[in-house]
C-alpha cells in the first residue's frame, strides 16, 4: 500500500504580534454598587477593581475581536491572507451556531482559513495558545490568529452580588507562527468537572423555553472559587515553569487571568516569584474580561513599559468548568 504524506511543521512557535480592544465605556464602582447595596470601598477592597470597561449595546463579540485582531496582524507583520487558522475563544457569543470565528475570518480577509470557536471560559486564551502552538509545530497551520473576546455585559444581572459587578468587555488577539527558537513552553492544562456548579449560568436555554426561567446570567460561588484559584492554581503555574525547564526566578512577567486582585496577590506569594516580577494588574481598570483578560493585561504591560518584547512571561487562565491552562511564553 502506498504511504500517505504527512505534514512537517516548524521546530518551534512564537507569538509574533498582539492587539487589544476594550469596551468603549468606563463603568465605575459607584455605577454598579447601588444595585447590589455595596460601595466603591467594598468593591475595591474585595476585588481591586476601580473601573471596568463595557461595550456599547450595538458592539458585538466579533466587533471587539476584529479590532484586536487587526492590531495583532499589523504588529505581527504577517499578510492577512497568510493566516490559515482562526481560533476564537469566547463563551459570550450569543448564538450556539454558527461560530463567531468564520465571521471574524471573513471580515479580516483571511480567505478560507480554518476557523472555530472554543469554549474554555477564563482559561480560553491559554487553551487556544496551546492549540495554536501545536498546530504550527505539527505543520497543520503556519500562521494562527488566536483571539479571546468577550462581551460579558450581555450576561450579567445588575443585582447579582456574586460576579456581575466584576465583569467587563474586551478582546485580545495574537498571531502565532514559526520560530527559530523556543518561545511557547509546554502547556499544563486540565479540568475539574466536579467544580462545574461553582461558576456558570443561572439557566439553560431549555430552562428558558420549557420551564419559564429568566434570561440566563452568570453566577459564581465566590469562596470556593477563591480558594481553588488562590491555592490550587499556583501549583499549575509552578508546573508550567518546571516543564519549560525554568525556575520561578527566571520568570520576568506574571500574567494571570484577571479575576480578582486578591487572587493575583495570593498566587504571587504561593508560586514564589521574584520580588521585581512585572505583574498584570489590568483588572483594576478593565475588570474581569474572561478569555480576553490575559492578552489585555499583556498589552498594557507592554504599552506602559513594565514588560518588554523578549521577556519570559508566565500566563495562567482558570475559570468555569472548572478548567485551567498555563504556559511560559516569550512576549512579542
Amino acid at each position: 500500500m502506498t504511504q500517505m504524506t504527512i505534514n512537517r511543521g516548524a521546530d518551534y512557535s512564537r507569538i509574533l504580534g498582539l492587539g487589544a480592544a476594550r469596551g468603549e465605556n468606563l463603568v465605575t464602582n459607584d455605577d454598579v454598587a447601588g444595585a447590589i447595596d455595596s460601595s466603591d470601598e467594598w468593591i475595591r477592597q474585595r476585588t481591586g477593581i476601580i473601573t471596568r470597561v463595557r461595550a456599547n449595546a450595538e458592539t458585538s463579540v466579533v466587533d471587539l475581536a476584529e479590532r484586536a485582531s487587526r492590531d495583532a496582524i499589523a504588529a505581527a507583520g504577517v499578510p492577512v491572507e497568510e493566516i490559515d487558522t482562526v481560533i476564537l475563544s469566547t463563551f459570550t457569543y450569543p448564538v450556539v451556531t454558527p461560530a463567531g470565528a468564520p465571521v471574524l475570518a471573513d471580515r479580516l480577509g483571511c480567505g478560507t482559513a480554518a476557523a472555530f470557536d472554543i469554549s474554555a471560559a477564563c482559561a480560553g486564551y491559554c487553551y487556544a495558545i496551546a492549540q495554536a502552538d501545536a498546530l504550527v509545530r505539527a505543520g497543520q497551520s503556519r500562521y494562527v490568529l488566536v483571539v479571546g473576546a468577550e462581551k460579558m455585559s450581555d450576561w450579567i444581572d445588575p443585582t447579582d452580588r456574586s460576579i456581575s459587578f466584576l465583569l467587563g468587555d474586551g478582546a485580545g488577539a495574537v498571531v502565532i507562527g514559526p520560530s527559530a527558537t523556543p518561545a511557547i513552553g509546554p502547556t499544563v492544562w486540565g479540568s475539574k468537572g466536579d467544580g462545574a456548579p461553582l461558576i456558570g449560568m443561572t439557566a439553560s436555554w431549555l430552562d428558558v423555553r420549557d420551564r419559564g426561567a429568566a434570561f440566563p446570567t452568570l453566577f459564581q460561588q465566590g469562596q470556593p472559587v477563591f480558594k481553588w484559584a488562590s491555592f490550587d492554581m499556583p501549583k499549575v503555574a509552578k508546573r508550567a515553569i518546571e516543564v519549560a525547564g525554568l525556575s520561578p526566578s527566571d520568570i520576568q512577567v506574571f500574567i494571570p487571568h484577571q479575576a480578582n486582585m486578591r487572587i493575583i496577590d495570593q498566587m504571587i506569594k504561593t508560586v514564589g516569584l521574584r520580588d521585581d516580577v512585572a505583574v498584570g494588574r489590568d483588572i483594576a481598570d478593565s475588570g474581569n474580561t474572561s478569555a480576553a483578560s490575559i492578552p489585555l493585561a499583556t498589552e498594557r504591560l507592554l504599552r506602559e513599559g513594565a514588560a518588554k518584547s523578549g521577556d519570559l512571561a508566565l500566563q495562567i487562565g482558570f475559570g468555569a468548568g472548572l478548567v485551567f491552562a498555563a504556559q511560559v511564553v516569550v512576549l512579542p
Binding site: Q223, K227, R262
Partner: protein
C-alpha cells in the same frame, strides 16, 4: 502527634497575624473573626486553607461559616486532627 488546643491556637494566631496584620495576641478564644478581628470572607478562606496545610486537617467549605470565633476554629481543628 495531635496538637493541644493551646498549640493550635498559637499556630492559628500566627497565620491570622501573617494574613491580616492583626496582632497575634488579639487572636484569642472568644474573638469573632468578622466582628472583632475585621476579617472578611476571602481572608477567612485564605486562613482556613493555610490552617489546613499547617495542621494537616480538612476543613470543608460548608463548615467555614460555622467557625464564627477563634475558639470555634481551634476546637474544630483540634478535633479534626487524626
Amino acid at each position: 502527634m495531635a496538637l493541644s488546643e493551646k498549640e493550635v491556637l498559637a499556630g492559628l494566631a500566627e497565620i491570622v497575624a501573617e494574613e491580616t496584620g492583626v496582632d497575634a495576641a488579639e487572636v484569642v478564644g472568644d474573638k469573632s473573626f468578622t466582628d472583632d478581628l475585621d476579617i472578611d470572607s476571602l481572608s477567612m478562606m485564605t486562613i482556613v486553607t493555610l490552617a489546613e496545610e499547617k495542621f494537616d486537617v480538612r476543613i470543608p467549605d460548608e463548615e467555614v461559616k460555622n467557625l464564627v470565633t477563634v475558639g470555634d476554629a481551634v476546637a474544630y481543628i483540634t478535633g479534626a486532627q487524626s
